[in-house]
Symmetry: C2
DNA sequence: AGCTTGTTTCGATGCCTGTCTATGCAAGGG
DNA sequence: CCCTTGCATAGACAGGCATCGAAACAAGCT
């Protein structure tokens, strides 16, 4: 498992909240890639299982029982999350332990955050 | 255009940050639906154009020139955003003006936000 | 009523994606 | 070396989705 995860240009993302100015085509493509990784119920549940697991990490063996899916499907989903830069994996013997990358999630959260604009009254 | 937009259970979402406990199947389905609406570059750019437009709103006529796409495609994307509860539309004469729903985006941001957990050193 | 402008909906189409089975790779032990 | 366990990859397939052109709907004007 690589010590150099997929490049997530966190700095660029954290300074481009989508509510302040139009996103460029490049920014929107990169953000869409990350949101797409989150746009599946199984992947969201995998992410939350990993993040909330004891020690902040979980091996694949901790994850598969929570789903009525085969191992290859779980592997595929973990790969999508990993390639989107949302999780990292580390091999320990036979097992692979995954961790969430909080900075990547935080960057997405920042992009979605308005400057405390209230929702329009009466909408 | 309905005064009662699609129900976004904002309260339920805001209290279920995915990093603190495993998401339920229902929660993950609802979140995935919203993230899926954001998982397209055109829709992200539409959202940012609407949000950053003067007055915090934009009519479809303000949006279509920014894309090399047909009107029906823009309408389709706006519909996806609307049905995901991320924007609202209001008809004014011939025109329809769209606004972002900050509370919905804020709820997503909150879900993604960890309690300031630093990224693991050395990952 | 007809006409114009703005927007949405419908249906077709090519591309994308979640899931499975089969297979391959990695690590550990004898 | 072989065997076992754990996990990832490859390929097929059915369902989903972005896009278009055609059609329909909404609003305003004469």
């Amino acid at each position: 498992m690589s010590k150099h995860p997929p490049a997530v240009d966190v700095e660029a993302l954290c300074c481009s909240p989508l509510m302040r100015r139009p996103l460029s085509a490049d920014e929107s493509t990169e953000l869409a890639r990350m949101f797409k990784a989150l746009a599946d119920p199984v992947r969201l549940r995998l992410l939350s299982l990993v993040a909330s697991h004891a020690g902040g990490e979980a091996c694949v063996c901790d994850l598969t029982d929570a789903f009525d899916l085969t191992g290859p499907t779980i592997s595929h989903h973990l790969k999508v999350l990993r390639e989107a830069g949302l999780i990292d994996g580390e091999r320990r013997g036979t097992w692979i332990y995954y961790r969430v990358r909080p900075a990547a999630l935080g960057a997405l959260a920042t992009v979605l955050t308005a400057s405390a604009l209230p929702e329009r009254v009466g909408t």
